[in-house]
Amino acid sequence: MNFHGIRAIYKFEMARMWRTLMQSIASPVISTSLYFVVFGSAIGSRMGAIDGISYGAFIIPGLLMLSLLMQSISNASFGIYMPKFSGTIYEVLSAPVSYLEVVIGYVGAAATKSVILGFVILITARLFVPYSVLHPVWMVSFLVLTSITFSLFGFIIGIWADGFEKLQIVPLMIVTPLTFLGGTFYSIDMLPPIWQTITLFNPVVYLISGFRWAFYGISDIHVGISVAMILLFLTGCMAAIWWIFKTGYRLRS
C-alpha cells in the first residue's frame, strides 16, 4: 500500500475543506437551522406528536440525512471533478497509487467532512429542539455508513460529469426530491395505502427510517432492511467504481 500517497490525497482534500469552511460547513448548518426554526419551532408547535415524538424532534433524522446526502455527494464529486477540470489529474494518473488508494484518499476525505458536518448539525439542532438518541452506536454507524456510501456515489458522479451542470443535476434533481418524499417530514403511515407502496421504491426511505429508529426506536420499516439497503447501495457504488478504474472510463483513454 502507498500510505504516503493516500495521506497526500486525504490531506489535500481536507485542506480544501478548511479553505472553504463557509461553503462546506457553515452553509449546510445555516440551511438546516432554518428548517428547525420554521418546521421545528414555529409550525412544529402547532402540530401533534408523531408516534409520541414531538414534530421538531421527529424531523431531525430526516434533515440530518438530507444534509449528509447532499454534502457527501457534492464534496466527493467536486473533489475528483476539479483535478479533471484543471488538468492536474495527470499527476494522480501517473503516480504509483492503485485505484483503491485513490478512492480511499478522495472518498475518505469527503466522508470525513460529512461526518464532521453531521455532528455539527446534531449539536446545532439541540439549540432548537430537545431530543435524545436511543441507540447512539447505531446512530453513528448509520451516519458513517451513509457518508461513505454517498461519498462513493459522489465520486462516481464527479468522474461521470463533464461539466459543472452535471455535478449539480443529480443532487438537485434526484436526491433532494427523494429525500423530501422519503419521510423526512412525515411518517409513511400517514400516506394513503397506494403511496405507501410506491414510496418503498424510494431508497432514501430506508435510510431515514433506519436513522430515525437509531434516534427514537420507531421506524416505518424494519431496521434490518434499512441496514441491508445501505449495504446494498454501498456494494453497488463500489462495483461501479471498480468498473470505472478497470475500463479507465473518462479517466484514461
Binding site: N2, H4, G5, R7, A8, I9, K11, F12, A15, R16, R19, S86, G87, T88, Y90, E91, V92, L93, S94, A95, P96, V97, S98, G248, R252, S253
Partner: protein, 312 residues
C-alpha cells in the same frame, strides 16, 4: 546494462480509430539526454503519456527502469517524473504544499531538506508560501518541474519544457537539465525548438505519423546528414560558372556576386583547396569567404520532407 526505458512494439489506437503510434521500438540508456523531435500531432505526447501511465497502450510493452509499466506499475512509476506540456496546476494551494503533495503521492515520506533543495535550485524558495494562482506562467512551469522532481525520480520526462518561456528561463532550464544529468537522471525531452535539442541532447529520435523514423547520436546525425557550405563573395560578378569548374557542386547566386560550394561535412577539406586553386587558375578573385554548417533544424526539415515525399 539494461536501458532505463525500453519500448517494444508499442502501438496506440484511440477509441475514435486514430492510430497515434505504430509499433514503436526504442531503448533509452541510463544517464542520457534523449530528445524526441517531431511535428505537431506526430505522437510525442501520446508516447510519453503511455510510458507515464496516463494513456493505456493498445499493444506492445514498455519497461521503465526494468519494470513493466502495466504489471509492475508501482515500481515503474516511482522511477519516473513527468513535466507535462500543458500548464496544469492547482490554483489555491501554496507552492510548498503542492510540491509536498507530489512527493507523498509518489510514495515518499516527507523530506523537507530535499524539497528545499529542489525549490532553491528552481529559484522558487522565496515563493514557497505563495499561492500558485499568483505566479507568472514561467514560475508555474518551474513549479511543475519541482513537482516532478519532488520524489527524486531516476527518469525525467520533459514534454516541451520551454514552450512559451522567456530566454532567461530557457537558459536556466538547460543548466538545470545538465545538472540533473550529472546527478544520474535520465532525461527524455520533446521540443519544437531544434536549437534546444542541438544544445542539449546526446541522442535524437525523430517521430512522424506515429513512427520513429530515425534514432541517432546527435553528433553522428549532424555529421552524417549535415552539409557544409562555402560562400565566396566575388570581386566582380559572373554570368555563369566557368566550364572548367562545371563538375564541382557549385551554384551561382542570382546577382552573380556569390559562388556557393556545398560539400559533405565528413568529406576531407581537400575539395576546398582544389576549388580555390582552380579559381586562381581561372583568374576569379574573391573579396571574402565564409563557411556555414547546417543546423539540426535544416537536417530535421530535410528529413521530415524527404520521408513525407517517399511515403507518398
Amino acid at each position: 546494462m539494461q536501458p532505463d526505458i525500453s519500448i517494444q512494439n508499442l502501438s496506440k489506437v484511440y477509441s475514435g480509430g486514430f492510430q497515434a503510434l505504430k509499433s514503436i521500438n526504442l531503448d533509452i540508456q541510463h544517464g542520457e539526454i534523449f530528445a524526441l523531435l517531431g511535428p505537431n500531432g506526430a505522437g510525442k505526447t501520446t508516447l510519453i503519456s503511455i510510458i507515464c501511465g496516463i494513456v493505456n497502450p493498445t499493444s506492445g510493452r514498455v519497461l521503465a527502469s526494468g519494470h513493466d509499466i502495466v504489471t509492475e506499475y508501482r515500481a515503474a512509476r516511482e522511477a519516473i517524473g513527468l513535466v507535462p506540456q500543458e500548464l496544469n496546476t492547482d490554483a489555491f494551494e501554496t507552492v510548498w504544499d503542492t510540491v509536498a503533495f507530489s512527493r507523498g503521492l509518489f510514495g515518499k515520506g516527507p523530506d523537507n531538506a530535499h524539497l528545499e533543495k529542489v525549490l532553491r535550485d528552481l529559484s522558487l524558495w522565496d515563493k514557497r508560501h505563495n499561492r500558485i494562482m499568483a505566479l507568472s506562467g514561467g514560475m508555474k512551469r518551474r513549479v511543475m518541474i519541482a513537482k516532478a522532481l519532488s520524489h527524486e525520480p531516476r527518469i525525467l520526462f520533459l514534454d516541451e519544457p520551454t514552450a512559451g518561456v522567456d530566454v532567461e528561463l530557457r537558459r536556466d532550464m538547460w543548466t538545470m537539465v545538465r545538472k540533473l544529468r550529472q546527478s544520474g537522471v535520465t532525461i527524455i525531452l520533446t521540443t519544437h525548438y531544434i536549437e534546444e535539442a542541438e544544445e542539449m541532447a546526446d541522442r535524437i529520435g525523430v517521430i512522424r505519423h506515429g513512427e520513429i523514423i530515425l534514432v541517432e547520436e546527435k553528433h553522428q546525425l549532424m555529421a552524417k546528414l549535415g552539409k557544409k557550405e562555402l560562400r565566396l563573395h566575388l570581386q566582380s560578378p559572373l554570368d555563369n560558372i566557368p566550364g572548367a569548374l562545371s563538375l564541382e557542386p557549385l551554384a551561382l547566386s542570382d546577382d552573380g556576386h556569390e559562388l556557393i560550394y556545398t560539400f559533405d561535412s565528413q568529406q576531407e577539406q581537400a575539395g576546398i583547396a582544389r576549388l580555390l586553386r582552380q579559381l586562381g587558375d581561372e583568374g576569379i578573385e574573391f573579396r571574402d569567404l565564409q563557411t556555414r554548417e547546417s543546423s539540426l533544424e535544416d537536417i530535421f526539415v530535410g528529413l521530415v520532407h524527404e520521408t513525407s515525399g517517399a511515403s507518398r
